[in-house]
């Protein structure tokens, strides 16, 4: 017996499945060039001194590209890990705890990045 409530649940799950898929593809495409840029710069970045690293992050194109990378990749990561949790974790409570944990991390990364970007612009 499927109650109306259950039907609605199934419906909402269906639509979120579709948007999940689209969001994953869209973020994947957005991440392609930015990640190539990121891994291309990362080894040389690691060999810089503290002050040089600081300046590199604060330099105009880099800070925006980094912000873009961390925001989009965090969202992509949330989408991916959600699927992994759904596939391998069968304990409902653990599932909930893990997805809340991931959401908190992702929201923190995105808001810290945005705050830093805004703060930088307001400060300058």
């Amino acid at each position: 017996m499927i109650t109306v409530n259950k039907q609605q649940e199934i419906k909402s799950k269906k639509s979120s499945g579709l948007s999940h898929w689209w969001h994953q593809k869209l973020t994947a495409i957005l991440l392609l060039p930015i990640t190539v840029w990121f891994i291309g710069n990362f080894p040389s970045f690691m060999s810089l001194s503290y002050q040089e690293k600081f300046n590199w992050i604060y330099n105009k194109p880099n800070c925006y590209l980094l912000a873009f990378f961390f925001i989009v990749s965090s969202y992509h990561m949330k989408l991916g890990l959600t699927v992994v949790i759904e596939d391998y974790i069968h304990n409902e409570n653990l599932k909930k705890i893990l997805s809340i944990f991931i959401s908190v991390i992702v929201v923190s990364i995105i808001s810290i990045t945005l705050l830093l970007c805004l703060g930088k612009n307001v400060g300058v």
Binding site: K53, S74, G80, L81, L116
Partner: protein, 123 residues
């Protein structure tokens, strides 16, 4: 609803390992690894912006053997995830589903990922 009568998806463990299944699970594993990696790298960037003494602590990790292995694996898993990700996007467009092409693109993905990884460290 009784959970036991729900159909189960085929489990990885009952199949003979093949390049296709290994690559599929590697995509997930590299994704999970990068999730940890990304959070760590993000915190590292925040530490740089915060203060030099925190940064020095972080560099103590990155200069250790564990840190070097982590950095190398992080870059390599990104290279692999990018290449296999493109393969998945091409599949989503509806191309390359023939078994022969799946294998060709599979080997090409591994080769390109290795080349990309080498280029990153050499250049």
């Amino acid at each position: 609803m009784n959970k036991k009568i729900k159909p189960l998806s085929p489990h990885l463990s009952i199949y003979k390992p093949q390049i296709t299944s290994i690559m599929s699970i590697s995509h997930r594993l590299s994704g999970i690894f990068q999730s940890f990696g990304n959070v760590m790298i993000f915190m590292f960037f925040i530490l740089i912006l915060a203060e030099e003494k925190f940064y020095n602590l972080a560099m103590f990790f990155f200069n250790s053997y564990l840190g070097i292995v982590f950095t190398f694996l992080y870059i390599f898993s990104l290279c692999y995830h990018i290449c296999n990700g493109i393969r998945h996007l091409v599949w989503d467009l509806g191309y390359g589903f023939e078994l022969k092409n799946v294998y060709i693109s599979g080997y090409a993905t591994i080769a390109i990922a290795l080349i990309l990884n080498t280029l990153v460290w050499v250049l």
